[in-house]
């Protein structure tokens, strides 16, 4: 269970994010500029919120009223961005191995290999990132996010730059992995099709506002009808 209740400010932009996400996929759906990505950054510990608190499985990640702060390392979350952000100077396997936390060099490489297999990317282990297609690179980025054995997954429009066929396949993969690992997962998107297909729970975002009451399947269906009407 991930509980978020924070505010943040960047320049003129004010954000208020308030929601709880249970196991399964919670889709954060809303227009770009709403603050969805920023919300993920606050959860991962890349940025500090102005006020409020974030808890994961009852453990406080940050609480500005008590000054509690867990470093990104202590938080153990996995994150995938819109770009794969694989390091060009490392092979695919080395990219994933960097995210494996413990063990000797060989252990980490073996473990990285297993994660690559899990996302069906094992055959590209020795390639360099520039030799991968966009969809392949995002699979590797997903393996990297999983390799740290995260307690939650944060996916920030991970498939935006991919074509529809590849997107659909990767959505199935994500759904499959989340179900198997029972991970609380936040999936940011502004694609209504993607939102309805993936969401166990749906959170709406409007500019400066993320969350409120999470919808259920009915809510999603209503949303889909609304969106298909226009």
């Amino acid at each position: 269970m991930l509980e978020v209740d924070v505010t943040h400010r960047i320049g003129e932009f004010d954000l208020r994010a308030e929601f709880a996400a249970d196991r399964g996929i919670t889709v954060l759906f809303g227009p770009s500029g709403a603050g969805k990505s920023l919300t993920l950054r606050l959860i991962a510990g890349i940025d500090r919120p102005l006020t409020g608190s974030i808890r994961l499985n009852g453990e406080t990640l940050v609480d500005t009223s008590t000054g509690e702060w867990a470093s990104p390392r202590e938080r153990r979350v996995g994150m995938v961005f819109q770009d794969s952000l694989l390091l060009p100077h490392r092979t695919v396997l080395q990219n994933v191995a960097l995210a494996v936390r413990d063990g000797t060099r060989d252990d980490r490489r073996r473990s990285a290999g297993r994660w690559l297999d899990e996302v069906e990317a094992g055959e590209w282990a020795d390639r360099r990132p520039h030799q991968l297609s966009g969809g392949q690179a995002q699979r590797v980025a997903l393996a990297r996010a999983l390799a740290g054995e995260p307690r939650a997954l944060l996916l920030d429009e991970p498939f935006n730059s991919l074509d529809q066929t590849v997107r659909r396949r990767l959505r199935l993969l994500v759904r499959d992995i989340v179900q198997r690992r029972q991970l609380p997962t936040l999936f940011v998107t502004h694609d209504p099709g993607e939102a309805t297909e993936l969401a166990d729970d749906l959170l709406l975002a409007a500019p400066g506002r993320v969350g409120g009451d999470a919808g259920d399947r009915d809510g999603i269906a209503a949303l889909a009808r609304l969106l298909s009407d226009d």
Binding site: A44, I46, P72, R73, F81, L87, P88, A99
Partner: protein
């Protein structure tokens, strides 16, 4: 004839090493860290660029001379003064070329997409590993260019070196100074040879850097 060449290679190699390490280190701090005195460090570090080399050399002479605290400390430890030695020439060449490497390194590091660093943070890498395994490798071409610039500047230093280390044949007379000396003595053959070798070294190193950059891409 070849004394100045060996001396120059030794001084330049030492200066390039010093400037490479400090230039990249301070370049990283200026690009990524926020600390009090940052603006002052920024200005001071770049000051040698806008100072005439002889003025820079003069200040170094004041700071490192035999009566200065640093000069005395050096002499106490190593048994000989720092100024008017080849080590003094290394200091002179390093200080003169440091800002060039620093500025290139800083620009290279600033141009690294910070989201790569965020990925490293979220993975749980400590700050030094994010720097060593993500930021610096991503900036490596610019860093290499910075070190090459530092090398070139150190190789060609005249004014600062001559102030701090003097012009002692066989001991502190580097090639640029030897060229000047030869011309003063109307020995144009010697000046021409020295100048040509110096040019050859500079061009060779720049070609090597170019090749390294290519093989990296």
């Amino acid at each position: 004839m070849w004394d100045p060449l060996w001396l120059t290679l030794r001084v330049t190699a030492a200066a390039t090493l010093i400037v490479g390490v400090t230039g990249i280190g301070f370049g990283y701090l200026l690009a990524r860290a926020r600390f009090p005195g940052r603006a002052l460090l920024d200005v001071l570090a770049s000051a040698p660029i806008v100072m005439p080399p002889t003025v820079l050399g003069y200040y170094l002479l004041v700071v490192l001379g035999r009566r200065s605290p640093i000069g005395r400390a050096w002499e106490a430890v190593f048994g000989s003064p720092l100024v008017f030695t080849w080590q003094g020439a290394v200091v002179a060449a390093s200080v003169a070329s440091f800002p060039f490497c620093l500025r290139a390194a800083r620009a290279a590091i600033e141009s690294v997409d910070r989201r790569y660093e965020a990925v490293g943070q979220v993975m749980g890498l400590p700050g030094w590993r994010v720097a060593a395994q993500i930021t610096l490798p991503l900036a490596r071409r610019g860093l290499l260019a910075g070190v090459a610039l530092g090398f070139a500047r150190a190789l060609g230093d005249f004014g600062t070196t001559v102030m701090v280390a003097g012009n002692i044949p066989g001991r502190t007379q580097t090639m640029p100074i030897a060229v000047y000396d030869a011309v003063q003595a109307f020995d144009y053959d010697r000046a021409g040879t020295l100048a040509f070798v110096l040019l050859g070294i500079a061009v060779t190193v720049l070609l090597l850097v170019r090749r390294l950059e290519r093989s990296n891409s």
